[in-house]
């Protein structure tokens, strides 16, 4: 009894692509907004320690990064396999940290200078000796706000 009448051939209407550029532009702007360019190539192995209490670094523009870890394979011939400090794109010594901090601070605007954060990305197998020395020179450079970078986990598996 139903009156389903087939009305001949159905042609699929072409989808209008007029709004495609708009969609693409929106996506584009989104990615442009969230992009932070990677400025430095990490030349050391950094396996971050695990922690449960880590907080997200909110203002990346205020952060300066210090990497400490074993040099990567191709640098080991030159720099050895003991943990080294990497600032920007080069291996540096403890004494260079103060200059580095001064230089990084110079790049910030006057208002942000006090809010500078130094993010320490340190390999979990590094020894505290080098870390303590870095911390001491940060204190001397009066860069007192620091963040120990970690990977956030729900539970720490403790290994000695």
């Amino acid at each position: 009894m139903a009156r389903f009448v087939k009305t001949g051939e159905k042609s699929v209407k072409a989808i209008s692509t007029a709004s495609l550029p708009d969609i693409v532009f929106i996506t584009l702007f989104f990615f442009m907004a969230i992009t932070t360019m990677r400025e430095t190539d990490v030349m050391v192995t950094v396996r971050l320690p695990e922690a449960t209490e880590g907080k997200v670094l909110e203002k990346k523009s205020l952060a300066s990064f210090i990497f400490i870890g074993e040099p990567l394979g191709n640098f080991q011939a030159l720099y050895g396999s003991e943990p080294k400090i990497q600032l920007n794109d080069t291996f540096k010594e403890i004494n260079d940290i103060q200059d580095f901090i001064a230089q990084e601070r110079e790049q910030l605007s006057e208002a942000d200078k006090t809010k500078m954060i130094v993010v320490l990305k340190i390999d979990k197998d590094a020894r505290m000796g080098i870390v303590t020395e870095v911390k001491q020179s940060l204190r001397r450079a009066s860069a007192l706000k620091i963040m120990y970078a970690d990977t956030n986990v729900d539970q720490i598996i403790f290994q000695q």
Binding site: V24, G129, Y148
Partner: protein, 194 residues
Amino acid sequence: MARKRREVPEINASSMADIAFLLLIFFLAVTTLDTDTGLMRQLPAIPDPNVPQDVNKINDRNILEVKVNKDNLLLVEGELTEFSQLREIAFRFIVNAANQPNMPEKEIVNIPYFGDVPVTKAVISLQNDIGTKYGVYIAVQNELIAARSKLREDLAMQQFGVPYERLDEDRKGAVDDFYKVPISEAEPKRIGEK
């Protein structure tokens, strides 16, 4: 001198999508979505040598001494302790529910939103050896921070009925004042070099 209005030829916009796509793909490729997380700490300023230090100002009972040696063993108040117990020990130390004489003393302080409340004077002192593994050091620090955050979290829930993270700055400050518990990193000592 009325000029004839010139017709502006229409720009062909059909390649717009291609250009946008190209840009999009570029930004897709260079984007790193990873966010940095970590433990925020404030280092103490270098003490001024001209200003006399007030040594031993903190009463011994107020200090929880945590030491990690070069073999990554944990010493809490001079006793060898398992890592898994650390959080609980720190928690009990800060709370000092029974007001024991060997645990931190409390001082009545006026805090906004709370009024006059007994506030613990507990301090946690973390010492490490030069040979301690960084991973262990962070794990220990994490436990200590976790104990303190748990207390703040509980307090926020109890007082305001809102998780700590969602409090405004003033209330957060009040909760922080209630459980200040500074975690101090002692001046480095050179012992047992490896």
